[in-house]
Amino acid sequence: MRVLAAVAVLAFSLAPAASAANGWWTFDRNANLKSVLSWTWTYPPDPTRYTRSWRAGSGTTTNECEKGKGWLPAGWYTLRGHWNDYGGTVIKGRVWWFQDKYCANGTTLRTELFIHTEETRERGQYCTAAYDDPFCWEREADYYSLGCIKLSRPSPVAGFPADMAGAHSYFHTYGGSPNHGDLPDDANELYVFS
């Protein structure tokens, strides 16, 4: 899978019309602060794969069984839904929510797993004098998460790349669901490499 994904990075200019695309996420766990989230898509029945990747973070430790701390467990995930204006207490804005997953020990469930960034529900930035505002992308350490996958975005106080915007755009343009909210029948999945 990893090899296929790596081989499949092709020039986007070669891609045919987007209407018939089928896509999915992959996540390559390298380090908590520096891993790789990719969106891969094909135009069935053509098996050629196209991939776009972004830097992403996950967890504060590399033990996937450490609830609330370890990075995302390996395996395939079903997408629960996608929101542009998610209004959780600690996660807001653009999110993808994935299924729960048993970690490698087979007895610990990781739950409440998202792809997200640090932004307000309206996809803005709320940057105060606090060292680490949860809705403001201020610094490198914001790639840390409690288990989710995190993408950067620019803010008034730091110039990180607009990776959330890029991932969001590729998702909707190249084979992701055009819909928002609960997506129980969506085929778009996530694969986390071990």
Binding site: G75, T78, V90, Q99, K101, L109, Y131, L146
Partner: protein, 359 residues
């Protein structure tokens, strides 16, 4: 197999001779002794004084809490062991997605259960269906998180209420509203619990009485309670800002001491006298608490990390912990004077402990 073990022993002896008395992270040859106190191997309960192992109805495990709270805990009077069981209603292969396995939103996947072993009468009974995480109060009351629904279902957060069950069986709800709680420990008559929300964000709460919660740590967890239960050693990780540990007054939430760290600590540690042991990023870290300060006194490296460390002697020199391996969790004994940790046995097991204070 015997030949393999012999070769391993010889190899260990050679390595030992070559390395002399240098600080060893772990010896490769496990000791064939169990940890002190109660522990389980599979569904067998060991460590009962003068008694044979007891077979439980299932292996203690609490998937919704992991090791945020003990999978099994012994009451203060030693008579009871409350433990978590996970009754699977269907298989769930972690390598495959739910969709690929035909699991639909709302499908019931498992039922968490709490069982109670009466060591005096030799009984093992179901205490609560659709419930998990146990915390014993000194008077024999048991706190746990009980699901609003009995079954854990696909794509549905497992919302719970915090229940306190008195020794006479009377139940009282302590949480004011449903959430994903984990019962952790009693600090005297105050209940410490976690509330898990989106992204596995964890807040540590204190319940002074039914319906009255207070935030003790936002985005952080309990490492351990002081022996008298008045203070909590808490951690906040890098995802919540700068990693740090603090000593907070359980009654007021006031910070009494703090220490910024380069790497975050983890929950489920222990506090003995003025020493606190916690799981760190590369092993165990021992802190000293006193005089309004927290200092690091020792770091014990453990490959792949160690969890649920407990002091096992009055001076805080000996520590027992466990570590996940592909075969399951193995026990580690760490000697602070020798600055080393030794694997005790290869069978998968869980430590049984009671983090409530005072006991």
């Amino acid at each position: 197999m015997a030949r393999v073990r012999l070769i391993a022993l010889l190899a260990a002896a050679l390595v030992s001779a070559g390395c002399g008395a240098s600080r060893s992270e772990e010896r490769p040859t496990p000791e064939r002794v169990g940890p002190p106190g109660l522990f389980t191997v599979g569904s067998r309960l060991y460590g009962l004084s003068g008694r044979s192992p007891v077979r439980l109805a299932g292996a203690p495990v609490s998937p919704l809490a992991g090791w945020m709270s003990p999978a099994a805990a012994q009451s203060a009077d030693g008579r009871y062991v409350a433990y978590n069981v996970w009754r699977k209603l269907r298989d769930d292969d972690p390598a495959r997605s739910w969709r690929d396995q035909g699991i639909e939103p709302g499908d019931p996947l498992a039922i968490p259960q709490i069982r109670l072993v009466d060591l005096e009468l030799g009984r093992d009974e179901l205490l609560a269906e659709g419930a998990y995480s146990v915390a014993w109060r000194g008077d024999g009351a048991l706190a746990y998180a009980r699901g609003v629904e009995r079954s854990y279902r696909a794509f549905m957060p497992y919302d719970t209420e915090l229940i306190v069950r008195a020794r006479d069986g009377a139940e009282q709800r302590w949480s004011a509203y449903p959430a994903q709680y984990v019962a952790v420990a009693w600090a005297a008559d105050r209940l410490i619990a976690y509330r898990i929300s989106a992204g596995e964000h964890v807040d540590t709460l204190v319940f002074g009485r039914p319906g009255r919660e207070r935030l003790l740590v936002e985005g952080g967890t309990l490492v351990a309670l002081s022996p008298d239960g008045s203070k909590a050693f808490v951690e906040e990780g890098a995802a919540s800002g700068r990693p740090r540990v603090r000593v907070v007054d359980v009654a007021t939430g006031a910070t009494q001491a703090g220490l910024p760290l380069h790497e975050g600590m983890s929950y489920a540690g222990d506090w003995r006298r003025d020493l606190v042991v916690a799981r760190g990023g590369s092993g165990l870290v021992v802190f000293r608490v006193g005089g309004g300060e927290i200092t690091i006194v020792q770091e014990l490296p453990v490959a792949e990390g160690a969890r649920e460390p407990r002091f096992t002697d009055p001076t805080g020199t000996q520590i027992i912990a466990s570590r996940d391996t592909p075969q399951g969790a193995v026990f580690l004994r760490c000697d602070r004077e020798r600055q080393s940790c030794t694997e005790l046995q290869s069978e998968p097991g869980r430590l049984i402990y009671n983090p409530s204070r005072p006991r």
